[in-house]
């Protein structure tokens, strides 16, 4: 893969400005991911042809239950009754939008590669819910926000998409690129008592 096709998160400066992580209690592990493909997909999930086309390309069905995320090779987030976000880290994912477009050509739908506009964080560790609960009205408690659940909401006033992607309380946090630096700094500040380490 040539350098120009890489999808960088753009927070290198933030990572460099990080003080040495607090080794005595590195309670939260935050990763800012490079090379993640985000495809916004719209269409009618009651249209069998649309569903077939999507499944053929993605190998998994679209979640139709509100605020759920389908977690297999790709993470497919429900964004609205006719809107989904496909998040993929596969090596061939830069061509995902083109493959979807070709397959859905004659079907009423819309496919947009928005990888350059969003930044993906993964957050794990025992106290992640506590930190997120500080500035979001969604209840992230393990009893209510389970793996496969997701929510679009505001975190410290920034619009975010948060999904619980693993049993071990790992969250995926997706924000607009222009908010990524702010959200990362907010996380570092909000999680300082638990110890947070960015990678």
């Amino acid at each position: 893969m040539s350098d120009s096709s890489r999808r960088l998160h753009g927070l290198e400066f933030f990572l460099r400005s990080q003080q040495r992580p607090d080794t005595k209690a590195s309670g939260i592990h935050a990763r800012i991911l490079d090379d993640v493909t985000h495809v916004n997909l719209r269409g009618n999930s009651n249209d069998a042809e649309f569903n077939r086309g999507v499944e053929k390309v993605l190998g998994q069905a679209l979640p139709v239950e509100p605020n759920t995320v389908s977690i297999r090779e790709s993470h497919i987030y429900w964004l609205g009754p006719d809107e989904w976000l496909v998040v993929s880290k596969a090596a061939d994912s830069p061509g995902l939008a083109t493959r979807l477009e070709n397959t859905l050509r004659n079907i009423h739908s819309s496919v947009n590669d928005i990888s350059g506009g969003q930044v993906t964080f993964t957050l794990s560790g025992e106290n992640v819910e506590r930190v997120l609960n500080k500035a979001c009205t969604i209840d992230f408690d393990a009893g209510t926000f389970k793996p496969g659940h997701c929510a679009q909401s505001g975190l410290a006033k920034a619009s975010v998409l948060i999904g619980c992607i693993e049993q071990s309380r790992t969250f995926e946090l997706i924000v607009r690129r222009s908010f990524a630096d702010y959200v990362a700094r907010w996380l570092r500040h909000a999680a300082r008592h638990h110890g947070i380490e960015f990678r």
Binding site: P66, N67, L79, G80, P81, E83, T137, A151, Q152, S153, G154, S159
Partner: protein, 93 residues
């Protein structure tokens, strides 16, 4: 916290929403045929009742869909909220 029920996402905090004004106002079919008074009535005049009020809301920080809410302007109690497609039926929740 004031909770509003989005027909798709369920109860969410008011801060996630944007208010869209009084519901059920449709654009006149033939604007040229209207008098100035009728046109300004369509553009600017709203009912502003004391009590039950049908209004539009947008789940701006959530699923970004528009829907209607029946809210009491005195008590703020929400009687029901429903999708725009269901606005003519009584079946909303």
């Amino acid at each position: 916290m004031f909770l509003i029920q989005c027909p798709w996402c369920g109860n969410r905090a008011e801060t996630e929403y944007r208010y869209g004004g009084e519901a059920g106002i449709s654009r006149p079919k033939d604007p040229d045929a209207l008098s100035d008074a009728e046109w300004s009535d369509y553009l600017f005049y709203r009912s502003n009742p004391r009590g039950a009020h049908k209004e539009l809301w947008n789940h701006a920080q959530g699923c970004r869909r528009w829907f209607e809410v029946e809210r009491d302007t005195v008590s703020y109690k929400i009687a029901r909220s429903y999708k725009l497609a269901d606005r003519n039926s009584e079946s909303g929740s």
